[in-house]
């Protein structure tokens, strides 16, 4: 049975973790940690309660960026109108994760650091160029969010390091993004396939595009060649389908209870094309701001 350490601030938390290497586990919302302890996947001697660390909570918009503290709850992201306008994919992913109760407890940092391949939040953050801030007793560093993930349930964070914030590119206008997923049920289900896409547009053409996938590789996957397929011209059915084909070729899904590898690969192709289409419409102001994209990618009028 673990003991519980409740630090007064981040420095105290980091010092405690440094002094107790290998036997601490940070706990924030607890929705993953409590289950992991119950099934014996995690057996820390000390839980370090992050909830008192007020400085790690909340969103700050600065120019074309938004910085989100690691302790920010997913429910807070889901209900943030400014974020819905600037980074709709992030809000859409937050909204379909778990249930209201789970989202009220779960934090962004927890969802990222648990490093589940099917986790909802990494793909939308990756298409918004997320940079992670990591702190330890010895200082802090930044790295691309993609470099945080090492494999199923594993991150590249060193012992004694904590994820403290994520900074996204989230422009005021001229951009759009979208998150779609395939699930068996609408709620309380993990993605069989998760797809995020973002597009920046100017003068009627795509100037930048990113595609990221969840649940179809050991880690959340950015697919640069998929985004590259649609750059330089208006988005067309052909370019979106080509991007989908490249994403399907880049992923490495497994067969499990949520789908076969073959099925998932086909779903990737379809959802990438659809997500790019919605992101393109949003970048051009033709998809109502803040309107959630249909769950499960079911959609009429904007398919590939």
């Amino acid at each position: 049975m673990p003991e519980l350490f409740q630090p007064v601030d981040l420095d105290e938390a980091l010092a405690f973790m440094a002094e107790h290497p290998g036997i601490t586990m940070p706990i924030a919302g607890g929705t993953d940690v409590m289950i992991d302890m119950r099934i014996g996947r995690a057996m820390p001697e000390w839980l370090v309660d992050l909830r008192p660390l007020q400085t790690l909570k909340g969103l700050a918009f600065e120019g074309d960026a938004v910085r989100i503290g690691a302790l920010t709850r997913l429910r807070t992201l889901e209900l943030n109108g400014e974020l819905a306008r600037r980074a709709p994919a992030v809000v859409e992913a937050a909204r379909v994760l778990g249930s209201v109760q789970i989202r009220t407890m779960a934090t962004l940092g927890g969802n990222l650091c648990h490093a589940t391949p099917s986790a909802e939040m990494p793909p939308p953050l990756l298409v918004h160029d997320a940079v992670a801030e990591v702190a330890s007793r010895d200082g802090s560093r930044t790295l691309p969010l993609a470099d945080v993930f090492a494999g199923p349930g594993a991150t590249t964070l060193e012992s004694g390091e904590l994820l403290t914030a994520v900074t996204l590119r989230a422009t005021e206008s001229g951009s759009g993004s979208c998150y779609l997923r395939q699930t068996v049920r609408w709620s309380m289900d993990l993605a069989g396939v998760g797809v995020a896409a973002s597009i920046e547009a100017a003068a009627g053409a795509v100037t930048a595009a990113r595609v990221a996938l969840g649940a179809v590789a050991p880690v959340p996957l950015l697919v640069p060649e998929a985004g590259a397929a649609v750059i330089g011209s208006p988005l067309t059915t052909e370019s979106a389908v080509e991007a989908g084909a490249r994403a399907a070729a880049a992923c490495s899904p497994i067969t499990d209870a949520r789908g076969t590898a073959e099925y998932r690969r086909q779903v990737v192709a379809v959802l990438v094309a659809r997500a790019l289409r919605i992101a393109w419409l949003r970048a051009n102001g033709e998809w109502p701001a803040g309107l959630p994209a249909p769950i499960n990618g079911v959609l009429s009028g904007a398919t590939s």
Partner: protein
């Protein structure tokens, strides 16, 4: 570890294990057994309570992490022996079959209606998506919640 908590308006002080869940404290220490012990993995919602007005699954909530918070359980939704309006609507609509999910359903519905009494059917279903009814009596539950929403909107 010492725990101070306000539950349904009453202050409590207890000595608890550091890894005790809020669910365990409510049921075993405070004898508030309306909150149900279900899946213990956050999937079923039978243990839903409000912490500072927001719904959480108390089976995954370390009690120490909500020290000092205001907790509301299903027992706190009635007053002076009278049922609360959500509880009364569940009775009126026959929205309970075996009854095991009912406290969690009622607390989750209360959380929704406090913020959004005008919630429409999709919003009600989304708000209750984390509460499983294995008798599958969802339609009457949704009807009951919509009914309360209508009457709160009119009287507000």
């Amino acid at each position: 570890m010492k725990l101070e908590l306000t539950v349904n308006g009453d202050p409590y002080r207890r000595e608890i294990a550091p890894d005790a869940t809020l669910l365990l404290v409510l049921r075993d220490e405070l004898d508030l057994t309306g909150t149900k012990w279900g899946c213990m993995t956050g999937d079923c919602g039978a243990c839903t309570v409000l912490v500072d007005g927001e719904p959480v699954v108390s089976c995954l909530q370390l009690a120490q992490q909500v020290r000092g918070a205001e907790v509301t359980t299903v027992e706190g939704l009635g007053r002076d022996g009278e049922l609360g309006d959500v509880q009364a609507a569940f009775v009126r609509h026959g929205a309970a079959q075996c009854g095991f999910c009912t406290p969690g359903m009622i607390v989750a519905a209360e959380a929704l209606l406090r913020h959004n009494p005008d919630a429409d059917e999709p919003e009600v279903r989304e708000a209750l998506a984390g509460n499983l009814c294995r008798c599958t009596g969802y339609n009457k539950i949704v009807d009951a919640v919509l009914d309360v929403g209508r009457s709160r909107s009119t009287t507000a």
